[in-house]
Amino acid sequence: MTDSPLDKVTMLGVLLFGFALAVPAFVTYRPSRIVRGEPLSALESAGPAFWALVALLLVMALAATSRGSVLRGMPTALVGAVAAATVVWVVGLAAQGLVTSEAPYARVSLSAGFWLALFGAYLVVVGGLRGYGGAGSAALSVGIMPLASVAVMLVAGHLDDLSIMREFFNRRGSFLSELSTHVTLSFSAVGAGTVIGLILAFVIFRYVATERYLFFFVNLFQTIPTLSFLGLLMAPLAFLAARYAFLRGFGISAIGWAPAFIVLFAYTLLPVTSNALAGFRIVEPRVLEAARGMGMTGNQVFWRIQLPLALPVIVSGVRTALTQAIGNTILAGLIGGGGMGTIIFLGLAQAAPDLILLGTIPVVILALVADYAMKGLSEMLSRSLLRGSQ
């Protein structure tokens, strides 16, 4: 908790939120998908609902400037969360108002003002939680509240008139299959990379002489830019697929899932290997001395002492790898490997920003959820490993 009368983060959020309500481009309106759009401000597009946003702005401003008031901390975060949900609700209303029976092909896209307002509200939540003093389940529920509200709006069809939802309905089938490809590809590559990374870490730990050579490769993979890596794999994979029929049988070729899988797998190695190795090495020498002195074999020392003690660090390495892989899997779309990249690159080709967004938002959410879950797992592990049972 700060003693200054203003919480800077909250204040910045409030300013952004206020600015967002004033900018001319809250949403973009286009009479049809292909024509140029015209920007509409929040007041122009949302009508009376605009004043709900203004009211929230005032409450947040009050919270941000009032020193030591009851509004500081958790209540501020709650108001921010409500504001975030309301922004989405208002934009849904705006779309409903603009897409009428006279203009059924009209498109309403999310524009700068909308994103700014959302970001401002997010900052207010963050600032409020800082004042509240930490994370915990209360903080988590404040974070989940806007997401849950949006989910309800989605299910209720409140947002159906937004252009991005139109894009979704046009490709509902492929959206779901690309999403599942995306998840499968990134998780399986990270899974395989984790297994191999752990083995590498173990080998390096046991045979220190191998460190230079193994880390050379692991680092090398990391330094090749993702796109170049995909390009480099084309020739060898094409050769192998042409030479060995069984590889073709697995669906391995110069394009498709195989090169994407290999790249994602290779990128997983560095964070997992280096974290696991660090984890093995942080185990105190005296603990190892005691373990060996008690008569544990090398394997017993590893499985009973080193691995469990290193687990939280390993999980945090997997967390890095997974978050990174979920983003990188987009590139699989470039080489016919599927995933959300397919939708994004289609959007780029068609100059359809809503389609790009439709591909991007799930990736961002997926990455955030994976990151949060792995972080929780890592913290839970270190707590249960080291703290008392009480």
């Binding site: 005691a290 002195g293 009973r304 080291l386």
Partner: protein
Amino acid sequence: MIEVRGVTKEYGEVVAVRDVSLEIGRGELTVLIGPSGCGKSTLIRTINRMIEPTEGTVEIDGVDVRESRVEELRRGIGYVIQTVGLFPHFSVRENIATVPRLLGWERERTERRVMELLDMMGLHRSFADKRPRELSGGEAQRVGVARALAADPPILLMDEPFGAVDPQNRARLQEEFYSIQKRLKKTVVFVTHDVEEAVRLADRIALMRAGRVVQYTTPERFILEPAEAFVSEFLGIEYPLRLLGRHSVADCYRKDAAPGDTPGPGQAVPMDTPTREALSLLVASGQKRLDVVDSDGRVVGTFDFESVLGLLGGGPGGEG
């Protein structure tokens, strides 16, 4: 019995232990003492093969330690190190049960043993579920000793086991360990650099310097026949006084009282008074002798300077 024969350990140019031979008797507590870097920690580690000597052999009951598998050997030897090295992710119960589990004991037997050891160490049974992080330094050391004793090994190696504990707790731990050792009669090899600790616990002391054993004998003999000037220098000027702490008046008073004597006007000392304290009382009283009384307050003899001299010389009441 542990027999160290001509053990040398070289690290490149550096010689940590130089041609050391020692016989450590069964049920005896032998202290390896010396300034830091004298090779005592290296030497103790050759017994459970945490360090393999460059030359020489270590035998336990006539069998070369290299003849058994190293893990088997270590499971039969209790091991306590200065920093304890409790496994931070194990509960106290699991820590103590380490060797029994390695030996494949049944759950019930292990559990019984864990409770037995907690009792023996004076730790409440509820400690079994605690994690090392929740223990104080002294408690952690007790758990460390319990862990070493878990499978009831005949031999115990202790490398500065109480070194990281504050002086008050250390004295308590030494006391407790001394009485446990009196009961269990383990063959103990104990490394320390603290003369006070050595005097308190040792049956025999091996004083080391620069990789060699300078002198290996009972604590009393160090006064009578120091092997070289370094011995008296290292043990310090107060060594004889410290030595008195090993004994009580009962070990050295002169039994010259006639039955039915009552204490004179001067001060009387009970028989179980440590000799060091009795000496202090004697000096304070300004007299030449004090009456010694038993637990019923009857005079049983006298305590004077000669009693003390007799003790140091392995005289009348000495255990020698």
